[in-house]
Symmetry: C3
């Protein structure tokens, strides 16, 4: 029997995504349920979290289940992911045992594992998540690795709430400055979900160095073709914002300089003007603005934008709770 | 609509305090309830805790709710509290977003945030707690900042249990030695609640340097006036203990030397004799003794005092559970 | 009234052990119950854990209770265990207060406290666990100190599941290499439970230095006498494995070099050939293999052994959940 995981929205059809969003809307109206009565969810955080942990933990509770929060290497043993290794180094336990044992205790395993930020060729293999999916005997959920599919659903839900039909809406994913080169996960995910929902997507960034990994660019183009939307890259701020219905901001590190971040520093520092501000928002078609949070105010977006009615970031964050309940209920729910 | 918080007992009338204590006594007799059925409580610990965390978490459970425990900066992002800052430093997220998002997930937010111990003029503004109260759209509870109102209620409940009517009982709040200059929160709180309950309060400390902040001294005097009690400061151990009905011990740092603690070290080190011992307790009117815990034995109080029937510190600690359930039920309870 | 704790299986008769295992098997068939409805369990981890924490937390949940997870010294205050000390050092709170207060909040206290690895004469007194048992007014469970009785029950349950009647089965407890000198707890426990179940036990280790503490050797001999089994020490790998029905692997530090580990390094490094591999397993009577986990693959046991049907370590780990529910239900369960 094949286990259905939730590793990426690419494994889910447009129709399945719509069903998850419908169920999430139902949970938003009526939060309490018994779909997970007596069920256990193991939340593994290789990296810290507030929204993700709170929303999963409370989501499980509201449906009658219980989430156990584990931080491997901190309050659990460091884990080995290579196959066939002689484990005489730092790791005390192999993922094969971790995943199998957790599968005996819990009905669902959710994993957050960010890239190591040293070698993109390694990080893009997403091996922590894939190892859990390989060895676990229960469904596995991606709580952010090199994509962030739970955020995608929360984002899509907020857009549906505020814009209704999303077909061929103009969607701008804009890179913004941040002092550190960040994970591309949410940017990859924004591409995936915006194209899957049939929007006309512009990826706005300072230079070709900031274009996303070819895998996600290719998925985005395929999604656009299948769903009647489009995908283009732009380095022209004004052109990108003009007529936009959605502005989604995110900072990320330029992949050609992955692990040798000094090489992108000059471009990064010269691109602080990518900040989302009122002047740029005035170019749009009264666009909604969102961001996955955490957001550095007056670095990624100004106070004026964050505090304006156009900002739906809080709604998007709230929706994490609802969409994750929908995903958990779809994977292991009863009744 | 104004949200009712629980930030300080000064926001609550004597009658409201009595009602909370009555409800707490009811919970002590009958611990299980459904007042928080399906409700979520977010517990934010900027500083560590054992009693507070355990009692809140179990209190929520016993009333059908669920508490999520978060440690910002450890398993959550570091938070910005200033308004209008360009957030290009260490903080990743503004309190405006944190408080709003948590308000979407949880029905109640409780916050522990100790002073930074560098500048009392800053710390006395209690800005972390106030920022949560400002931005949250759900009630906020103070789990100890520069006062500790939950401890006040637990203390008052223990006194009522052991002494009955507290009006004009002689109450001694005695400073004791501790190797480090500690928070004045519990001392401030002891003043507030003892005066609110109409007791005759003596603040006993080694020198005028150890008198508490003028804000709390003023509140104490106002409370004493309104409730028929009194408040005085003493540096005379024998006079203070003589005839006391209650001895409450706490160590704290001298405010004039806040952040420059070397200046108070000589007085502190010369004041180890403020320890609560059997000889001092023999001067009292068979007083009960208490402390908020944690307590360093044979530094703040001797083993003989701690292990005597006069010591009600364990009862006070237990009462944290009951009074906090009363506060949560009052703020968000149903039925 | 004497409180019944679960500190060591030596405090439990063979019949009581069998009853716990029967109840655990019942919970394995039917996991949900109300035996702990409304009950609170405090889990104190002085050392990290994954399986123990997850299985206790979920076990409490499945029986209607709630577990609070505390890590003293990390998210709680550092604790003093000596009696009569002037606490002017690092510890902020005495075990007398910690245990009494937790007993007011929780119906059960479970403690993990590994040795300090400096002085075996001190560590073998197990004073953290014993202090909790002394001061607590509720039952205390050993979650691994210098023995690991919960692991014993899980191990015994897995052996019963795979081998049925265990009387006079040949049981080999084999030392294996690990880069660090580890706790003897699980090895001590393996001796205790294997002899209690009437098996013919061989303790296989590189040299007499690796024989276990005389207390546990003596208990093992007494158990063997009472239950019709036997206990012997061997340094001959081939003789030990030949005809074995059970191979249980564990690494531990040699007690004569406790705290001065350089002294055992040469023997340790020269004993990597104690690894459990297919050639050794081929000498047995189609033995089952197990280990308490975490296990370093290809250091303690080869991939081939771990991935073979003979390996029952995952079953043993799963059984932690079931046996701990049985222990909790026996100590504080209702109905």
């Amino acid at each position: 029997m094949t286990i259905r995981h939730f590793l990426t929205t690419q494994d889910y059809s447009r129709r399945e995504i719509d069903e998850l969003l419908d169920q999430a809307a139902e949970f938003k109206r009526s939060p309490q349920g018994r779909q997970l009565a007596g069920k256990a969810v193991a939340l593994l955080f290789f990296n810290p979290s507030m929204r993700t942990r709170t929303s999963f933990e409370l989501g499980a509770f509201q449906l009658g289940g219980h989430a156990v929060v584990l931080a491997p290497g901190k309050d659990a043993w460091p884990i080995e992911f290579e196959v066939g290794t002689v484990m005489d180094g730092d790791t005390e336990e192999h993922i094969a045992e971790v995943a199998q044992v957790l599968s005996r205790y819990a009905d669902l395993i959710a994993v957050r594992a960010f890239p190591k930020f040293q070698d993109w060729a390694v990080d893009r293999e997403d091996r922590v998540l894939k190892a859990f999916a390989r060895y676990a005997t229960v469904p596995v959920i991606n709580m952010e690795t090199i994509t962030h599919p739970c955020q995608e659903l929360a984002h899509a839900m907020a857009l549906r709430e505020h814009l209704g039909d999303l077909q061929n809406k103009k969607y701008v994913l804009t890179w913004t400055y941040h002092p550190k080169p960040l994970n591309t996960a949410v940017a990859n995910s924004a591409l995936l979900i915006a194209t899957k929902l049939g929007m006309d997507v512009t990826l706005l960034c300072p230079s070709p160095d900031f274009v996303l990994d070819e895998r996600y660019m290719a998925y985005g183009e395929e999604n656009a073709r299948q769903n009647g939307g489009s995908l283009q890259v732009s380095h022209d701020i004004e052109a990108a914002y003009r007529g936009a219905d959605v502005v989604y901001a995110k900072s990320w590190g330029a992949l050609p300089f992955f692990g040798q971040w000094e090489g992108e520093k000059a471009i990064r520092e010269a691109s602080k003007h990518f900040i989302v501000d009122e002047a740029k928002m005035a170019l749009t078609n009264q666009a909604v603005f969102s961001h996955c949070l955490p957001l550095r105010r007056n670095v990624k977006a100004t106070d004026a934008v964050m505090d304006s009615p156009a900002c739906i970031a809080i709604d998007e964050a709230e929706n994490r709770l609802h969409v994750q309940k929908a995903v958990m209920a779809a994977l292991i729910g009863q009744g």
